[in-house]
Symmetry: C2
């Protein structure tokens, strides 16, 4: 399995191609800091009250885990050399809580490639699955990046 | 239009109910700080190089705008008194770039309510639209929160 696609343009990807990323360990402080800014609910912020919640303890905001997933994908150069930005995401599912000390790693697969009506770009559908250190799936979804086509002469 | 649903449980929401949130102004430093951690691509980080990109200047990470949308919804108590966490999101679409100085505000609507097989909770589908100060749509999607049902005697 490849770990990235550096130097790849839209034209160089193939349906079925798979990548995996490095891991990232969620600390209690990173979980609380993110939540204070973006998702201030007690099960992300308050260790004492979270212990009595459904989760039995502090868990990371889903927007935190999603942002970390994207960071890991960018760092692995999963979108190649010419990512023009994202159109959106489909079917994002937070399947399992992410707790302090959990390490996530992302596995992804190119599931569709469609040239755009603009001749310089194309649309990809990339399915992703973030797994913890016990290989349990924490988060799945489909990203819709817009990628640059190989420029003439490169 | 209501600005929140404080004190609401799953049973108190109705399909078609609408909320709006306060606004949030994206600064250049907040855009760059978020991107450095979670989405380190040059059009979010490097003012000089971003000027030559498709966007013609720095734009916020889509994960930043999404996280801000959620913060505004939590702050407006859009999920009422008993949010148990999110199941996921569908059809997230970044429709327009968010630039330094842009102010986003979120409009949302309850589009579905389905009691869970667990008697203490129910599933909501909430469509959201984040608009800038010119009332242009920047981001749309559907959130899938899981809400607590009204406890006996409350």
């Amino acid at each position: 399995m490849e770990t990235g696609a550096s130097g790849h343009w839209f034209d160089d990807f193939e349906i079925g191609q798979r990548f995996e990323t490095d891991g990232y360990t969620f600390t209690e402080s990173s979980i609380i800091d993110f939540a204070l800014q973006y998702d201030p609910q007690y099960f992300h912020l308050d260790r004492e009250r979270a212990a009595g919640s459904l989760y039995g303890g502090l868990v990371a905001s889903g927007f935190h885990t999603l942002s970390v997933v994207f960071r890991l994908l960018v760092q692995a150069q999963a979108f190649g050399a010419g990512n023009l930005g994202g159109k959106g995401m489909d079917e994002v599912r937070w399947q399992r809580a992410v707790r302090p000390g959990d390490t996530l790693r992302v596995f992804c697969e190119v599931i569709d490639l469609l040239p755009s009506s603009y001749p310089d770009r194309g649309h990809m559908r990339m399915a992703f699955r973030a797994c913890n250190q016990r290989n349990e799936t924490a988060l799945t979804g489909v990203l819709l990046p817009i990628l640059q086509r190989r420029p003439a002469g490169r």
